[in-house]
């Protein structure tokens, strides 16, 4: 898993929807598919991308596979978010100050 894979995995809205569904807890493939409006093979493809990016974990239970969020999967994204959630508001504040200083 690296930062590039994680961001690429997150870039797709369907994959984000899959992750959101797992926020409530683990789900099997059928439960995961509900409400997404895409075929099972398509779900499997998205799941494979999310797994290889380290974002979801799978657990086999008899014939069923259960998927859950991987605990540290989003860590690279958190690092970036932490930085830029502080960075941009500070920059915007500085821009406001600059606008006051500028001539019309």
């Amino acid at each position: 898993m690296n930062e590039s894979d994680v961001f690429r995995a997150l870039a797709d809205p369907t994959r984000r929807a899959v992750l959101e569904r797992l926020l409530d807890g683990e789900k099997n493939a059928t439960e995961l598919r509900e409400g997404l409006g895409i075929s099972q093979p398509a779900v499997s493809q998205h799941v494979a991308v999310l797994r290889s990016a380290g974002l979801i974990a799978e657990k086999k239970n008899g014939r069923h596979v259960h998927y859950s969020l991987a605990p540290d999967g989003l860590a690279p994204v958190f690092d970036w978010l932490t930085r830029y959630r502080a960075f941009w508001p500070a920059r915007v504040e500085r821009l406001k100050t600059l606008l006051k200083e500028m001539d019309q």
Binding site: S4, A11, E20, L23, E93, K100
Partner: protein
């Protein structure tokens, strides 16, 4: 940051929105002239800075939209686009929206049909 500012976050997007006490024309200068950018943006024009983030102006629609390619050596694979949209308000004011996210952002589609808190906040 003042209480007026709204900061929203998707897993791969940071958005800051606020009202500015300046016209779109004045903001435009601050967003496109390098002397002003170096004052507020805290990043180097592309290829000059070896340390810290760098930007390159890649799109400019006068008084309404600018787009910068963004590169941060600490996060080389992070979302590469910073877009600022301006909307004219009465009395010489401007609505300002900055979005740092992926190139072809489909985030607004997702945002429109979900009432859940953003993933990154909840996970």
């Amino acid at each position: 940051m003042t209480p007026m500012d709204e900061v929203r976050t998707e897993p791969d997007e940071v958005v800051v929105e606020c009202e500015m006490e300046a016209s779109p024309e004045k903001l435009w200068r601050a967003l496109t002239e390098e002397a002003f950018l170096s004052d507020w943006l805290d990043a180097s024009p592309s290829d000059e800075g070896m340390e810290g983030p760098s930007y390159r102006l890649i799109e400019a629609e006068p008084y309404s939209r600018v787009c910068y390619a963004w590169h941060d050596p600490d996060h080389p694979d992070a979302p590469p686009t910073v877009t600022i949209e301006l909307e004219r308000l009465p009395a010489g004011r401007t609505w300002f929206r900055l979005t740092h996210g992926p190139v072809a952002s489909a985030n607004h589609v997702v945002a429109a049909n979900t009432n859940r808190p953003p993933l990154a906040m909840a996970a």
